[in-house]
Subunit: 178 residues, 2 copies
């Protein structure tokens, strides 16, 4: 997908709705993908994102050590691949090859962008102070990419056990909220 | 709405998709409502929820002091009221009266349930260790309620500046994920 730079001030608009994301990491030339739903915005700009990543995940140690990752947002046409990434471990397979996803080099981090996702946020580990206590990683987005042709993405929102809500209608109300 | 006890093990299924919620607090007999979108699950059971609440909000001090609140999940038929709660401050008005919302007594906490919301989670402040650093409140859900008649709720998901995505189609995939 052809991506353009997305201003960091707009990152929250894509994450605040709560989509399932794919988190990519890389260590010693081996890239991995993890499906993740437990995240929240923590600051607008520079964008800080809080993520809970279980220490049973292969990505946990890699993120802790490399301090870099990419948050990729998939759409419902990728549903089978999103679930496949969640059902398998990077300790055993190369998920990019196995599930036919395309890694693209990032600008600032060693973890790759997933080309099929309409948005990609390059992140550095900003605060590891609660990694041991809650498996909470505070990430800072340093570079954001988005496909400018995607307007109302059909993001996936996990309701547990493989049940997903797909983004529906959009409405706009008069609001003073950011 | 007629609510029933919801097992605490199922709370994540309603919050993980990322809906806008209404957070209620109470101090000295005065109840307040705050619109909130920056939250994430942090643990399945007992359910822990991480919430970012700006210290510019009237609810910030109340939650810090009373250490109790209720997380209420509204649906799109309440959109005008949800935005009105976000556009006003409880320091000046009684939002329940002003916006025609119905407070119901909770079981364990002094903050009221919003009757019009299909789900209500009574919460205690579990960890205030990062309230000063990130305005992060770690809440524990001690009692959950849900309207058993609501199956595929039309939750609201904020995309910034009064733009909302409304929950659409549901799909189920074969998954080992919790």
């Amino acid at each position: 997908m052809p991506k353009r730079n997305l201003p960091l001030s707009k990152v929250y608009q894509l994450l605040e709705p709560g989509p399932v994301v794919l988190l990519t990491t890389s260590r010693a030339g081996h890239a991995n993908i993890m499906t993740m739903s437990w995240h929240t915005m923590m600051e607008f700009e520079p964008p800080l994102i809080g993520c809970i990543i279980s220490n049973r995940n292969y990505s946990f140690d890699i993120l802790k050590k490399t301090r870099e990752c990419v948050i990729n947002i998939p759409t419902a046409d990728m549903a089978e691949k999103v679930v496949a990434c969640g059902n398998s471990s990077g300790s055993k397979i190369n998920k990019f090859e196995k599930f036919g996803l395309t890694p693209k080099p990032a600008r600032y981090v060693s973890a790759p962008l997933i080309d099929e996702c309409f948005a990609n946020f390059e992140c550095c580990l900003f605060d590891a102070g609660w990694v041991n206590r809650y498996c909470l990683f505070v990430l800072e987005v340093t570079q954001a990419w988005k496909d400018p042709n995607v307007k109302n993405p059909q993001t996936m929102h996990h309701e547990g056990k493989g049940n997903f809500m797909i983004a529906g209608e959009r409405i706009k109300l008069k609001s003073k909220m950011k």
